[in-house]
Amino acid sequence: MKKVIRMILTLSIIGIFSGGVLSKINDWAVPYIEANKKAATEKAISLVQPEGKNYERIKEAPFEAYKVFDEQNNLIGYSLVYEGNGFQGKIRLMAGVSVDLNKITALEILEQVETPGLGTKVTKEPFTSQFNNLITTPQIDWVKGVKPDKPNEIQAITGATISSKAVVAIINSGIDQLRNFHDSGVK
């Protein structure tokens, strides 16, 4: 019996001690973690909306999106975060969209688990810069092997066609969502 009490006592003391230490450290770490998250979002927004100076999260939207403003606080566009299935897993990206939703300003891939060296090319130049000033009406399309000749087309990467297609599909459905949300009139 004495043994059992000692066992329970030891475990509880260790447990309480560990909980106490962790909550202290957690209190210290949380502000930094929040700041890091905010800095990452800010950096991504400044990449997809280079002229943006200020931003505000659209709270009513059922997905992550931001209104982006310039120095005079004029709305210059939106930043849309959207995700979908790639070749091996989820791709999460951020696209800068113009005010009328007809043009993409730039694209930034936030998270992906594509094949290293092949699928991961979608995160880099020259693939991403194809999206600069890309027209979104009609829907973005992709071509393979030839140079794109329409303003709404991009060239898929050889060896990473599925990843390229996935990025296009994710942006298209994201913009559809944003458009529906926009049209529903909720500001």
């Binding site: 030891t10 260790i14 450290i25």
Partner: protein, 229 residues
């Protein structure tokens, strides 16, 4: 009772004689998963060493207070606490690295190396020895991770620690940074480590035998005890 080994030996044995990866084949999961580059290997090695050292020190200090029946549970809670500390600190101060290592920082908890050292060494030794043993094993682990990460980075992406070391004409072998490359590289490294050890042991035996012959004694050789672990 085992013969007391010198303190420096306590540290050095972790580097090669009982190297966690090459000899004990422990802690494989993080080893394989994070070593796409040398810097990831170093970060993982340091994080694991930190947890190992702290846990060993604490557990060997309070080893007489813990009843044997609940020792594993106590060890796990203590290890998990230190791992959480590492995880939070990395998230706060090194967000990039923490993202690259992802869920493998929390998984240090189930790294058999750490629990193994507590069970086999720290819970039976004085704090100073436990500290040296943990440092040695941690350093050995770090070394192995660095070698593995370095090889994969050099061949897989032409760089080492971010600096280009292979000429542009060298087409990187993509397989090296894929999961398959991790298995293949580690398998080959383990094989060569065995080859080297086997050969060294044979040389030592032959040298000893020659010595014994010269004084006219027949040498009786047993298996190297370190092979068993």
């Amino acid at each position: 009772m085992k013969k007391q080994v010198t303190l420096s030996k306590e540290f050095l044995k972790g580097l090669w004689d009982i190297n966690p990866i090459f000899k004990q084949v422990l802690g494989m999961c993080p080893t394989l998963a994070v070593t796409v580059s040398a810097i990831n290997g170093i970060a993982m090695g340091l994080a694991t060493t930190f947890v190992l050292v702290c846990a060993s020190l604490l557990i060997s200090t309070i080893r007489k207070l813990i009843p044997t029946q609940v020792r594993i549970a106590s060890f796990i809670v203590i290890i998990a606490t230190f791992v959480t500390i590492v995880d939070l600190v990395m998230k706060a101060k090194f967000p990039e690295l923490s993202k690259a290592l992802g869920p493998f920082i929390p998984l240090i908890v189930v790294n058999c190396l750490i629990l193994g050292r507590q069970e086999a060494f720290a819970s039976k030794s004085k704090p100073l020895r436990a500290l040296l043993d943990a440092l040695g094993n941690g350093a050995g682990f770090l070394l192995a991770l660095f070698v593995l990460g370095g090889i994969r980075e050099i061949i897989g992406s032409r760089t080492l620690l971010g600096f280009q070391v292979m000429p542009n004409g060298f087409e990187p072998w993509l397989i090296m940074i894929l999961p398959a490359g991790a298995f293949l590289t580690l398998g080959l490294l383990l094989g060569f480590a065995n080859l080297y050890t086997g050969r060294r042991d044979r040389f030592e035996k032959e040298a000893l035998q020659a010595q014994y012959r010269s004084v006219g004694k027949e040498a009786v050789f047993q298996n190297d005890p370190s092979e068993k672990s």
